[in-house]
Every structure is written in C-alpha cells, then in structure tokens.
C-alpha cells in the first residue's frame, strides 16, 4: 500500500489582538500522520480539537503556519495544486448552490474537475444514489437527506483517490447515516478510495474506520485502530448483584486495591480485563455469592469523553462506563 496523504508537523496558529494585547491560539499543534491507499482514517476529538482546521489545511482553504502536507508523495501547495484533481471533499460548512438543479450543479463541478463523459457519470451516480427522478430539481426542493446524497455525488464526480469528509452525517436521520456509511464502504470496496473522516458519532467511527486519530487542543493524543484504542483502556467494569458476602468483597477489594462501589443495589468493580478470572475465582473462594454479572468493556465513546475532559493521565481511570 502506498501513502496517499502524509502530514508532517502541521501547525496552525491564529493571532488576535484586543486592546493592544496580542494573543495567539494554537489550533493545530505539530501533528503528523498519514493515510494509506484504501484506508479509512477517523479524525476524532471534542469541539475545538482542531479537526476542521486540519481538514481545511489539507484542502488548501487555510494556510498552515508551519509543517508539510504531501499528496501522492508530492508537496501540496494549497489552492491551485494539481493534487486537487485527485481528491474531493464534503463538509457540514460547505454547501452547493441551492437554486441550481442537481444536474446543473454536477455539470459545473464536472467541468472544474475536467471529467470526460460527465453526462454518463452523472446518470450513473444518480442511479447509485437513487435520485434519477430528482436530477432536474433545484436543491431548495430537496430534503436534508437528499441534499447530503447530492453532496456525496459531488465528491464522487472526479473518481477521487482520497475523500476528506468533515462530519458528513451530522444532522442526518440514523437510517440515512447508515446508508451513507454503507455507500462509503462500498466505494472503498469498488474503487479502493481512501477516506479521512471526522465525526462525533463514535459508533460510526467504530463501524467504518480502520484507524483512528484522537485530537485534543490541537494535538494528537492517541492513534491506533479502534480496537487498539479500546485495548489501551485497560480498565473494565464488572457489575453484579451480591447475594452473600458483601463485607468479604469489600475487604478483598480494599486489600487488593480494586475500586469498588455500590450503585442501585449492584456492586461495580473497576478492574483490568485480564484479572477478571482471578478476581472471580478468589471472591468465590471467600464465599462471596453473586448473580446477574455483567462485564462492561470500554467503548470508543468513553475514550472520547475522557479526551474531552482532558483526564487522560491513564486511559480509563477517571470515568465510569456509559453503559447502563
């Protein structure tokens, strides 16, 4: 696999001035990463983490303060760079002209990207996205789900090698979001398209991303596969109803430094996953009897919440799981 995109020490500092006091805000702070051919990379983080700023620099819509961007092994110079012919993007902050029809909009973008036989391409995309009957309707007459499909049609007009998608499913109904995800996966399957994808939807990220980068305050705080990040969150929870031996369990937890609490009549123990068999064996040996045992493994959202709260001294230590 070859590198489609490589980013080296990318930094963006915004300067502002109020009452003669100059201030600097480091929106993106020396981040480096790459996207391989056919890979889906998720860019995650709370609001203000630097995701959109990063995407904009990758598009040339924002000039970096420092750092380097390489597309297909060549340095990217921003707007007017030939690499823009081979990539495309969609985002929540960019729309296409609403008074033009779908066909007119796609015709315009087909000219920008110099697509040969663009009329055939538009017909094919219309079939794929199930908007054949809407081609001559202006965007003002479309639902938000239909508009999102049109935006995705625009992203596919030039047979891109890389798609930059900034929260493409935000504000969509769950069923349409699911369709969009299926479509993106099918495009990767058919054309080996690479994707750089930002989202707040953790399930979405877990479902489609091969690899995830967590950004917080402009810095990369974690980079791994979704499973790899979950593994880094060593702490799992056991939740169970204690039938007998509650005091023995409290004593055992205290002696072995397990974090034990009781909620709604159930014991909740924070524990490393690999220690669970030993824990259960030993409390059974002490005469503790339990029922309704649940093992609550961490989810990507837990990590996300941790990052958001900047409590990342050790993954999984500050927050309780969000499962109920």
């Amino acid at each position: 696999m070859s590198k489609i995109l490589e980013v080296k020490k990318l930094t963006k500092i915004f300067n502002s001035q109020k009452r003669n006091i100059k201030k600097q805000f480091r929106a993106v702070d020396s981040i480096s990463f790459s996207v391989q051919e056919g890979e889906i990379l998720g860019l995650l983080g709370p609001n203000g983490a630097g995701k959109t700023t990063t995407i904009q620099m990758l598009l040339g819509a924002l000039t970096p303060t420092s750092g380097e961007i390489y597309y297909f092994g060549k340095p990217f110079s921003g707007t007017e760079d030939p690499a823009l012919n081979k990539i495309n993007f969609a985002s929540g902050y960019a729309n296409i002209p609403s008074r033009l029809t779908i066909k007119e909009n796609l015709t315009v973008f087909a000219h920008f990207y110099q697509v040969a036989n663009y009329q055939d391409k538009i017909k094919r995309l219309a079939t794929e996205f199930e908007v054949q009957d809407l081609l001559n309707k202006p965007l003002t007459q479309l639902s938000s789900g239909q508009k999102t499909r049109v935006m995705l049609m625009k992203t596919m007009i030039n047979y891109p090698h890389l798609l930059l998608l900034d929260e493409p499913t935000a504000s969509l109904d769950p069923d349409i979001s699911q369709k969009v995800r299926q479509f993106l996966l099918s495009q990767r399957e058919k054309y080996n398209v690479s994707l750089l994808f930002t989202s707040h939807n953790m399930n979405e990220i877990q479902e489609i991303c091969d690899r995830v980068i967590f950004l917080n305050q402009g810095k990369i705080v974690a980079e791994d596969t979704p499973m790899g990040i979950l593994k880094k969150m060593k702490r799992t929870y056991i939740r169970m109803v204690i039938i007998r031996g509650e005091s023995d369990l409290i004593g055992y937890s205290r002696d072995n430094h397990f974090d034990l609490s009781f909620k709604k009549g159930k014991a909740l123990v924070k524990i490393d996953e690999e220690v669970i068999p030993k824990f259960l064996y030993e409390i059974s040996g002490l005469g503790v009897r339990y029922s309704d045992i649940e093992i609550l493994r961490p989810q990507l959202e837990d990590f996300f919440l941790q990052v958001a709260k900047e409590n990342i001294t050790e993954c999984g230590d500050k927050n309780e799981p969000n499962q109920n």
């Binding site: 915004f14 959109t52 700023t53 904009q56 598009l59 040339g60 819509a61 924002l62 000039t63 921003g78 707007t79 007017e80 030939p82 823009l84 012919n85 993007f89 985002s91 902050y93 960019a94 729309n95 296409i96 002209p97 609403s98 008074r99 033009l100 029809t101 007119e104 015709t107 315009v108 973008f109 087909a110 000219h111 920008f112 990207y113 110099q114 202006p138 625009k154």
Partner: protein, 262 residues
Amino acid sequence: MNLTRIKGIILRHLFLFKHSWERVSDSFYWPAMDIVLWGLTSLYIQKSQNQVSGLVMVFLTGLIFWQVVWRGQYELTVNLLEELWNQNMVNVFCSPLKLSEWVTGMIGLGFIKMLGSLIFAIVLTLILYTVNLFSFGWLLIPFLILLLMSGWWVGLLVSGAIVRFGRQIQTLAWAGVFILAPFSAIYYPVSALPFWAQIIARMTPISYIFEGMRKVVQSGKIPIFEFLFSFILNLVYLVISVIVFRQAFAKSKELGLSRLDD
C-alpha cells in the same frame, strides 16, 4: 489556464441567471427604467431650455455607457458574493479551478451579459427617443473596452475587500463603483467640477472616456489623447487591482476561506 474549468464557472452563473429573476431584472429591468426616467427628464430640460442641444444624446449615452462600467464590476463582485451566500467558497476554490480562471470566467461572463444589456438598452433608446448610439460605429469598441477595464479593476478591488472582510461589506458589491461616478464626467464636463474634484477626476480613467465621447458627439472627431491616457491609467489600475486581489485572497486563506461561508 484551462478552458473547460473557465466554461464551468461561466456555466455556474448562467444556470443561476436562468433561475434568478433578480439577475434578469439587474440586466434588463433597471437599465430600462433608467432610460425611460432620464430620457424623459432630459427631453423636458431640452424643451424648456432651447439653447441646450444634443442633451438627450449626452444624457442617454452617459447613462448607457455607465452601465458598462457597472456591469464589469458587478459580475466580479456579486458573483463572488453568490458563492459566499451559498456557502460554496470552499467547494469552488478548493477544486482544481484556479483564481485566474475564476477571474477570467467572470470577465467573460460580464462581457456576454454586458453585450446583451447594451444591445437591449441601445435598441430601447432608439425606439423611445430616436437616439441612435450605433452612430458611434466602430468607435463603440474601444469605448466599451476602456469602460469594461474600469469596471474590472474596480471589481477586483472590491472583490479583494469582500474576500478579506466578508459579507459585512457586501453593499460595496453593488455600490462600490458609484464612488467614482461624481468624478467620471458622465453627465457634465470635468471643467464643471470644483478644483479638488477635478484633481480626482483627472486620476479617474472613466472621466477621459466620457469626455472623449462628448467630443465625438459634438465634433465627430476621435479624441486620441483621451483614449490613450484612459487606457494607460486603466492598465496601471488593473495591474494594481490584480496584485491587491491576489494578496487579499492569500490573506483570507491565512484566516480560512470557510469563515466567509459562516
């Protein structure tokens, strides 16, 4: 420069023209209203003051040719604003379309639409007042080129300001060029202006064009000096405006183009 991409940006705004009554009225309705109103006004003045000869011709020529300057500026500035209103800036300028291609497309589109509006206005003037602006003959071509050049550099300066400061100054997209109107000698000679205004008028290439046109109307002679001086001034301002626009665009990218879409 790529012709397919230039065609793309021209198509984008021609498609809009088809769907937009505002654009159609800007091209035909308002010029027609101006011609009717000012043509009748100048007819009245000419009748009540017998010594003023050729007043209707001078007024209507000024009015119609001023539309050419305005049209040259308007296509650059309002079509740029159209992208801001549609949150389409990032889509357009982060596509392979180059800034120079966008400007060329807007100039080409402005030329096409100017021709449409101009022919409509000249024919309307001929029908309503039997004033024939085609009588300028081939001289119309250098006049139009010089007037369009003036519209372009004003348009590029205003576009630079819009790209830098966004929609908060959007009124300049329509009104920007009117700051030059009092000094452009459209309806009166430069000599009629107070001294301070004459200095500004002498630095305005449009004033030489309108003064030259009045000379053609009155004496039938071609004012070579006015043409040449206007051309040189226009060329200097056009070069400056291209530099200003490119720098404003670069500065805007430092702050982020998508902020213009918010």
